[in-house]
Symmetry: C2
Subunit: 312 residues, 2 copies
């Protein structure tokens, strides 16, 4: 099948279950950047994040006989909700392996979609072993958070919509963690855009994607942490080749810069976003001299913030 047709098909497949999120602008931020900035607001997406797209596309692409025993994944973040939500839409079971340190609000959200939560120790090895046990016990199909072509194609529909709304973009900025969104954004920019360059923002503290691009091979994340907690994973062998070939640059930003951009978006745009979502704006602000007068798309990835830490 032609590649563009695959993405269009993915989009049609998930459309009944997702929102077409708005593209927002803000005069203050335009002034600050010296560019016209168009924010694709996936904080308003189902489950509060773009990950609904990838989870749905992967689940809906499975044959009826494959999914009778359900689907499973490991995630402490939005992909957990995405798989739980997709299973609910399909009327099948979902098994979500979560670190026992996951916040209650995230566990509650997964339970809210009717999924079974299996707790494990908070490390990558325990997650992978536990999900393997779950697969063996239940026969559920594993949906990887990003290193899965159907997930990548699902995430690609986000930039596809952005480009449909603004066909004149010069650049799109996305954050990079495991690279599912970034590689999907590259695919849509290449297939549906006219000369759109794709850039990534990454926390300086977890700059493994930046280093991977420099070295020409996957450099794993070191386990350091960032306030942008959705971006602490390593690239995968499916996402890295797309990113290496098609991304025009990865810009790293400090924790202070991420906090500042989060605040700009909350205060000026009046929308709730996760700190991970502010990383692309922080990267654009840092490199604004390169984008003077340009039209720049930014993907706001999600708005799932734990408000238990705020004094109300």
């Amino acid at each position: 099948m032609q590649k563009t047709a695959r993405l269009s098909l993915a989009h049609e497949r998930i459309k009944p279950y997702i929102h077409r999120t708005p593209v927002m602008t803000n005069a203050f931020i335009n002034d600050l950047c010296g560019a016209e900035v168009f924010f694709k607001a996936e904080n308003f997406q189902k489950i509060g994040a773009f990950k609904a797209r990838g989870g749905l596309n992967a689940a809906l692409s499975l044959g009826p006989e494959e999914i009778t025993k359900g689907i499973c994944t490991h995630s402490s973040g939005n992909h957990a909700q995405a798989v739980a939500y997709a299973a609910k839409m399909l009327g099948i079971k979902a098994y979500i392996v979560m670190p026992k340190t996951a916040t209650r609000v995230k566990v509650d959200a997964v339970h809210g979609y009717g999924a079974e939560v299996i707790f494990c120790e908070p490390n990558q090895k325990a997650r992978e072993e536990t999900v393997l046990q779950v697969q063996q016990r239940t026969g559920a199909v594993f949906i990887h958070p990003y290193n899965n072509l159907k997930v990548i194609e699902g995430q690609a529909t986000c930039a596809k919509e952005l480009i449909e709304s603004r066909s004149d973009l010069d650049a799109i900025f996305a954050p990079v963690g495991g690279g599912g969104l970034l590689s999907g954004t590259c695919l849509s920019a290449a297939y549906f855009g006219k000369d759109i360059n794709v850039y990534a923002g990454e926390p300086e503290e977890v700059n493994d994607a930046f280093l991977s691009l420099q070295k020409g091979e996957i450099v794993p994340a070191t386990g350091k942490i960032s306030i942008a907690d959705g971006l602490m994973t390593s690239l995968g062998n499916l996402t890295f080749p797309i990113i290496r070939e098609q991304v025009s640059g990865i810009f790293t930003v400090t924790e202070a810069e991420i906090r500042q951009s989060t605040r700009f978006i909350w205060e000026r745009m009046k929308i709730i976003i996760e700190p991970s979502s502010a990383v692309p704006l922080a990267a654009l602000l840092k490199t604004r001299e390169l984008f003077k007068g340009k039209k720049v798309g930014i993907i706001i990835t999600g708005g799932n913030v734990d408000f238990n830490h705020i004094e109300w």
Copy 2:
């Protein structure tokens, strides 16, 4: 002039300077209320609040010879920005009397529109005396925050847009402070709606509008405070008669209920709102048995939150 024509004219007058803000829905909140709730999101309005409408309509209604010496007001809140913004749009001077206790972010916002800020002691008497001095010194025209027919008609355009988007509403909830928005909402519901009942939410701590309705005359606010800091003013002699005649009910809510509804909107709708904006939802939640299965509009009044108090 016919009353409906006056409101339509006000709308046309201010349209070039305002956003048509979105009407938002949320599945979680619908379930919670047992009703279909439509939020008119004026947090996305120019200056971050509906008050832009009233300030603009009042300023734009003045004749060219009246405004040569500028406009003035006293306000510690969104009306200050509204008058400053209107003056900027008209290319005239604005003088804003603010209590010296006003937060820096609010003073900065007013300065940002090029207005002159005159500080006074933080009480009603000082405000009124200072604004009188400003008028005498400068010849600027005073625009009252709510007790001004042009301001009321400007605020009315908010419910007019909501009704244009959803002609099938059974009820609209607005908060009540000085009553500019509430009386304007009553006018639009009466002129443009089909059997829409208008209700107000008010903080229990500053329940002067509730008491005024009970007593049949204006009961002044006692000076008690609420987290809903936009709602601490008394009704005016122009707003009260409209409210007395046309409002179907005022429901009071506790500080805890306001906090809870603020959190619901931040967490579930992913938008930043001021606590004053959460009062109508809190009132609907408290009275939800009366609105089962109904279509209810809620005016989200603004999103100007002082983030200096949050640890980033």
